[in-house]
Symmetry: D3
Subunit: 245 residues, 6 copies
């Protein structure tokens, strides 16, 4: 009975965890905590505790996922922060581009580099197989600046005002191109070999909405008749496209 | 006579300068100036001036567009501001929904209600014909809250994290629904008659990106092979869709 | 004794709850949690727990209110969010206007529509009995845009610079009027019947300060001599007014 | 000679353009320009120009007010900025308190210290005659922190949530008190002699709304019946109070 | 064994504490909580609890420091807030200037005046012994406005653009001087007696980086060869300077 | 002929007016204008105009610098914007590192890539000769994330709280490191060959303050006795260091 107590009490205790992040830093740094629910996994403490109970009371413990969510992620004790908290390794490694679009994005944001928490900046490496594309997408919370490290890219974005103007450029090694916040943009590898780009984004958590997947691959599916009317195609075409996602 | 010229011209010059807008007001109000380049039309002052010269010197004047652009729009002299500057009339009037999507948006933003300049708020009325849709779109600079005044709507938006989750609801008269900033959302009239909704948006210039038009109706067209790969359809389908826009 | 333990321990645990909200969203959405202390009520978990102990230990439990407060409110687990979290029902219903001022405000803000949390927008319906007023007030954290759905209103606000200028307008059905942030404003129903208005506000928690109540109805009362000197009336008049609130 | 005119005119035109201010600095500093319309007076340049023309052409010049308005004020050329642009002199001097309320505010904001432009901070000295009050007012764009240099003050503010709670304190020399943004607050000299306070405000242009003057001293007057109902007094009392302002 | 349980469980519970602060207030006020980890000390609650266990179970309890850190500090229950939460006492008292630089800063920020939390403003008193300096430093999160209460100061700051321009002024009683955000600035007492200044800063937690200490007094020391090259001095000089800090 | 003059002149005048920039975009984009005073050079338009007059009227024209300054930079007409406005070329080229510190920064900010205006993001390439350093500096308006493209770097920054803690790391190819806003940081090439890094910064105009140059190389010099006391060295050492800058 005591153990039910403690588990129950603990369950409540864990319900009381909460975190905070702010777009502008309110101190020198605020390193994201590895136990942050922002990472959606079971608190190591809790697993330890569950095992602890298991061993000592010999009672089954239904594993419960600890999850409290807020606007951002929690920080570590500034006194426990290490240089490694500001470090991400391996951006020189090529991403796996053997997929439908032939590209891969390695994101270095608050989820992979905790020290970026509250700093309003993140980075990404994009690899392109020959002919590969980084499909049309938007970042709801960031503008982007991208430089070509290797290869030849066709890059473009569409403006909302002037309405639906397509601004595009062929980029070669050493070129830097800007993509304004919230606008639909893409890149395509038009060179013979692989291409590599490095991007800076104006948020530690820029977010990404890949248009085709959001519109035709949502779960559950967006009503077909709405998409048929919006894209002015037969509903069969909509279902055909939806079946691919 | 020349001096009247220069004084008059100079007076106009000083009257036709354009200024900046800020997301947070730095004074009580900053009413958008009718001559703001934000509205992209020929300065009345300058046309008057051209005519003035025409009349007095009997010389042809090539009409020139006065256009200066800034991050926002210019304000009027606070002492010349009238109550009418804070007023927009006619939101009770039904919009014309006889179009491909069967809906119409009447936007009350800084372009139509100058007093909203710098206030970070705008409003819209959406009319729906039976079966009409407000097609999937995003507002790059605003969240939205919408209430149904008349009729029955299917509303929904797609989240980016959790990835591509479709959140949808049937809304009836008196329902209020929220659409988070930057996410793709839509409404459809699923009632028998016309439907009316009123929305509040968290910016005086929220912007709108209608997905289908931005992707398939851009000018010039986005490369067909990019869209074919992104939407995983045959390029013929892409061209077919593009031909509609 | 064990139970005192657990209750005490639990009391402390609950003291450790905290939440976060941010004016600009740092993820797609951050739906306010029904257990948020922002709503000032006893945590359901805690009540359950108190009862649980009561039943099992047969000890009296002094009910304690769980309250930890921060700058905003906590969010739900994004994976548990439902469409209903973005929904408020009943804005078509008339509010009860049988009160001293003859008006009623139905606020749709983060407290009543959790999905508005972090979105920087809210909505309100204002009902007016014939002759009813929405008395002079300010919103410390929002500008307002208001449209008349039914009836005839006299609306106005007072500017601080130019000093104390009164900007006023008679509004009829379909009119939209803007009230700049922080300025004192009001509306009065000058029509024969009831009047209805719908407002958008540029914050999920705009706040409201009704001037007369704040000045003459504060608790405890603001020193009478201060108000007498400020309003340049006899202190008897101040006490007379204070007695009404 | 005409060309000198035009060049001179243009030189002035280009010198007398007005610009924008931003809540967060986008460069080291952005010193307010003496010709900024924020100061609402005739451009010295333009007057010079008018006189120049007057003298040379012997034509009457209708004086025109140069007024261009923006969200904030214009900056000087950074290369012309002098140390004096960051300096205000005389805050040690007592203000004249022989007025209805027996107090005087010496404001050091962007209007009197140009270097504060874009810095988000300002200062004020408040002098109180014995029994004098700094009447109930709000700052729409700033919070305030105030320290007593000399004397004994009763200070207070009223909260909006909890509703209309009056928070008050007697302050003596060396006390520092905080007044949250947008809330109605006041101070009263309850000492025998004169009192002095120095305040910091979180904006270069905090603004001030003196409640009594805004409500009863607006121009034109706010409708008496609205105030009578709001303050629950006879309309005669309203007119009596209005007559004082 | 039970007690180990509870202590362990409690330890976990305390690990789950987190707080939030926001640069712009989202309610009237958000008074910093005395138990905020921002103050880095052991939770009184936890000490009480440890003692409680000690007494009742007669088991040693290793004292553990309660520390969870976020972007800002937690608030008190608004209903428990007292006027004293907005009060700091003793700014009229002289600070102890018998130190290497001959000055003392008494800071009134969120750490010493909890009511300043979220208000974006703080204050400081600086005392100078004859010849004392407030050495070159920057505030990473605030601009500063300073007024001389007593004495004669040499004040200055260095701009980054135009590059490394030194802007300086001799300040006497009643002078107010502005220091733009992020720029290196200092003051020196050039009068015969002690000097006093009062400053306002545009953040409740402005932060301070004293250049000499940060560069030559860091822990561990910054590599000497880096500083030697940066300051273009012999490494011996660097070590000599480092030895002083 | 005069009228062509005046029209032409006005056309130019209206084309060469400068406007404001805002940290958050208020439209899709706001491309910096080549005539922006942010670039501090003579308006080509105005020079053309002066020459034009010179030629036609045969009058000497005193060259005048066109310089208007604002909080940010002016934008181009959105309709004249070209893809090239979002493009910077040559970031693959090595910078010249033959200087005192053996490093070179190629900055891609609003000054070199106009399309970054208002987007809140910029990029930089840093080249290091063997043993070269990017000396201790701060960015008053940005955090930084840096990745090593080639070579081996020692990177570090000093925190203000905990006070003067030195956080340092050896970075190899593919490592990404974060430098929080406003903190003093540096990098040193500790490899055998040249090193290359690419950085993202959270502002289109981050600014840079090189500590040694700002403190010892200011113009005019900061008073030697102040620096002697601050750095606790003999004034001779200060003068010796100052002589190097």
């Amino acid at each position: 009975m005591m153990s039910r107590f403690i588990i129950f009490g603990f369950l409540l205790a864990t319900c009381s965890i909460a975190f905070a992040l702010d777009p502008s830093p309110l101190q020198d740094f605020c390193v994201a905590d590895p136990n942050s629910p922002g990472k959606d996994y079971i608190s190591q403490h809790m697993v330890l505790f569950a095992i602890f109970i298991d061993v000592h009371i010999h009672k089954k413990v239904s594993i419960f996922v600890y999850a409290v969510f807020v606007n951002g992620v929690v920080c570590k004790d500034a006194n426990l922060v290490q240089a490694d908290d500001f470090l991400f390794r391996g951006l020189h490694l090529m991403g796996n581009t053997s997929n439908d679009v032939g590209s891969n994005v390695t994101a270095v944001n608050v989820a992979s580099l905790p020290g970026l928490n509250t700093l309003g900046i993140s980075m990404a490496r994009i690899d392109f197989a020959p002919g590969g594309i980084n499909p049309p997408h938007t970042h709801p919370r960031a503008s982007e600046v991208l430089t070509v490290i290797e290869g030849r890219l066709l890059a473009g974005f569409v403006t909302s005002n002037p309405e639906n103007r397509f601004i595009t450029k062929v980029l070669v090694k050493g070129d830097v191109f800007a993509f304004p916040q919230g606008l639909i943009h893409f890149q395509k590898n038009i060179g013979k070999g692989y291409a590599i780009a490095i991007a800076g984004l104006s948020s530690q958590n820029p977010g990404v909405i890949t248009i085709a997947n959001a519109v035709f691959g949502s779960n559950p599916n967006t009503a077909g008749d709405v998409l048929a009317k919006a894209f002015q195609v037969d509903i069969k075409v909509v279902h055909q496209i939806q079946s691919k996602f």
